[in-house]
């Protein structure tokens, strides 16, 4: 089954070529073909997840070069989780896009969408820092094209583009530093070098390197000082793209922090836990307070994402604090809490964005200022919104409750009581901003509103979105088994290191034989 590992990257690349041909020949088939491909991604992602459940951490070396010379793709439970997440949210976005019966605008976006899928999957799988940069760039250049095609003026999305150009420059700088000091870009080899004896200069270089990767990841995740791009991008994107972006754009950064901290730099991560907690708390409160002051539905939801990223960063801070303490059960619990929060947040946020976009297109504009009375216009839409808002706030039978409960439990057991207090205050403020949408959009009556003729929205796909965010609870039993497996593999960086060397001939030995 190892031959399947590069396919999450290769299949979307094949799909781009195929979709471009279909777009030229018969453009009405484009969406159907795109959905078929995304269904294929889900199948491949689940196959890889089962493979990683039985085999643990597996490494695929491209073109059978030896260990440090080859570009390697690593399939471990964390990357398998992210692959499944990416494939499922892509399928949901396709369903949402295909069932809509409005103008056939933005058709060529689906081709860009699959290219972005390739880049994100490559970033989740790769075991090489330069390849990580290349994957990020594949994904970023296509997303620049996508957002630029959605705005009339460059100024609308300039923050997103400049921030990501600077982040890419920092990532490349980190790659240069890594190669200059340690002589390798392979994550497994770097992890082994860092675990061994180091000179003073190398220790300083490793700290700087980890700081640079953390900086890049925080820029991608949209944490406190770097969140301004998020509302402007989410406000202009078309509906299905918006749902996909909100599910995965920030999660790439979170994945990079988890991978660097737990697998590559486990000896250096705990120096940075106060940074993560402070930035997490700042983005929690700044995000939610900015959301309270917003006047547009989609911008409000985007600022919400900032505050949810704050929750995840606090959880990551706890994980980094626990790494040197050798308390494996507690470390496993906090890793599972963070990963489950990421899964929950992707689905709930994309469902909220999907419903928010639906409200905007029903109403014709995005302002929140005046009462609208959606409940009397479209009862089902209002109810769906209510359910996903409850899931976000963490009402007991929803996935948000489980995610928040796990996060708070890990914080209580590692005695971060002030974090628990601030998270609960943040949760109450989140509810307040949800109430703002409720009062201005759902309740009341807008008498001047004229319902657009033959307006139809895709009830089915929206229903799927909300269903997924609630059904996560019922899959808790298999997910808890998966979480045990994931945290067991991830809490021990030795598994990650040794997986690179098993089953391949060493390149150095091969050359010396000749």
């Amino acid at each position: 089954m190892n031959f399947l590992i590069p396919f999450p990257f290769l299949l979307p690349l094949i799909a781009i070529v195929f979709l471009a041909i279909v777009y030229k020949l018969k453009s009405s088939w484009l969406k159907g073909t795109a959905t078929l491909f995304s269904f294929l991604y889900v199948v491949v992602a689940f196959l890889l997840a089962f493979h990683s459940y039985s085999m643990g951490t597996v490494v695929y070396h491209f073109a059978d070069w030896g260990f440090p010379a080859a570009i390697s793709y690593v399939l471990d439970p964390l990357s398998a989780t992210m692959l499944v997440l990416c494939a499922l949210s892509s399928l949901l976005a396709h369903c949402f896009g295909v069932f809509e019966k409005r103008k056939q605008n933005f058709l060529s976006h689906w081709i860009l969408f699959h290219g972005m899928h390739a880049g994100i999957n490559g970033a989740f799988l790769t075991g090489d820092f330069f390849n990580l940069f290349v994957s990020f760039e594949i994904f970023l250049i296509l997303s620049y094209c996508l957002v630029l095609s959605c705005v009339p003026k460059f100024k609308g999305v300039s923050k997103y583009i400049y921030l990501n150009i600077v982040a890419s420059a920092f990532l490349l700088l980190a790659d240069g530093l890594c190669y200059g000091v340690f002589g390798t870009l392979n994550m497994g080899e770097l992890s082994s070098i860092l675990a061994g004896p180091l000179t003073d200069f190398q220790v300083v270089a490793a700290k700087v390197l980890f700081f640079l990767f953390l900086l890049v990841a925080l820029m991608k995740a949209g944490s406190f000082p770097f969140f301004q791009w998020m509302p402007e991008v989410y406000a202009v994107l078309p509906r299905a793209m918006c749902a996909f972006f909100s599910a995965l754009l920030t999660k790439v950064g979170i994945y990079l922090i988890l991978r660097c901290g737990l697998s590559v730099f486990p000896g250096f991560a705990h120096h940075f836990f106060p940074v993560l907690i402070v930035l997490g708390l700042l983005s929690l409160f700044v995000g939610v307070l900015a959301a309270l002051g917003q006047k547009e539905v989609k911008k409000l939801l985007a600022y919400h994402t900032v505050s949810q990223i704050g929750y995840i960063l606090c959880g990551l801070g706890v994980v980094f604090y626990l790494i040197p303490q050798n308390n494996i059960p507690l470390l496993s619990l906090s890793i599972v809490a963070v990963v489950f929060y990421v899964i929950h947040h992707s689905f709930v946020k994309s469902s909220l964005f999907a419903i928010g976009s639906e409200i905007v297109s029903l109403r014709g504009h995005a302002k929140v200022g005046k009462t609208f009375g959606l409940y009397f216009q479209e009862k089902s839409l209002a109810l769906l919104f209510l359910f996903s808002a409850f899931a976000l706030a963490g009402l007991p039978p929803s996935s948000g409750f489980v995610a928040k409960f796990l996060l708070l439990k890990s914080m209580a057991q590692s005695e971060f009581y002030f974090l628990i207090f601030s998270l609960i205050v943040g949760g109450i403020l989140t509810l307040a901003s949800m109430l703002k949408i409720w009062t201005y959009v759902m309740s009341g009556v807008d008498e001047e509103f004229v319902r657009p003729k033959d307006y139809q929205y895709s009830k089915k796909s929206l229903f799927f979105y909300v269903l997924v965010s609630w059904i996560l609870v019922f899959s808790l039993l298999p997910l808890s088994k998966w979480g045990e497996h994931l945290s067991g593999q991830l809490a021990n960086p030795k598994i990650y290191r040794s997986s690179f060397k098993t089953g391949v001939t060493n390149f150095k030995e091969r050359v010396q034989e000749k």
Partner: protein, 117 residues
């Protein structure tokens, strides 16, 4: 020899990086595009420099030869490091793609304005 050379290289890198960031904070789009180009080239320059490595204890040959990639052969063999060159080629191509996209958008905007007038 080594100290001066490293200092010149570091100063060049710092100047390029500084001017790049400075231009990136300008208001006009064309200045920002030049800033993006300079920033990318500064980082590429750094990537080339990362291939150099002290081969022997006497540091006089530091800048003249780089180490072989992946191998630790005897000091007598003279290899140059292919990896950092391969990396910088890829990085240049990617930076060029971003630059081309921004330039295309700039030209597109200017032409559209002229059409309206």
């Amino acid at each position: 020899m080594l100290a001066q050379y490293s200092l010149i290289m570091a100063a060049l890198f710092a100047i390029m990086l500084f001017v790049g960031f400075w231009l990136l904070s300008a208001l006009q789009l064309w200045k920002k595009i030049i800033g993006v180009a300079l920033l990318g080239n500064a980082v590429n320059f750094y990537l080339v420099l990362s291939g150099f490595w002290p081969r022997t204890k006497s540091t006089d040959v530091y800048v003249l030869v780089s180490r072989p990639a992946f191998l630790s052969l005897g000091d007598s063999e003279f290899f140059s490091d292919p990896v950092s060159q391969a990396l910088v080629l890829t990085a240049i191509v990617i930076g060029f793609a971003v630059l081309a996209l921004l330039l295309f958008y700039y030209v597109y905007q200017v032409l559209r304005k002229k059409d309206q007038l």
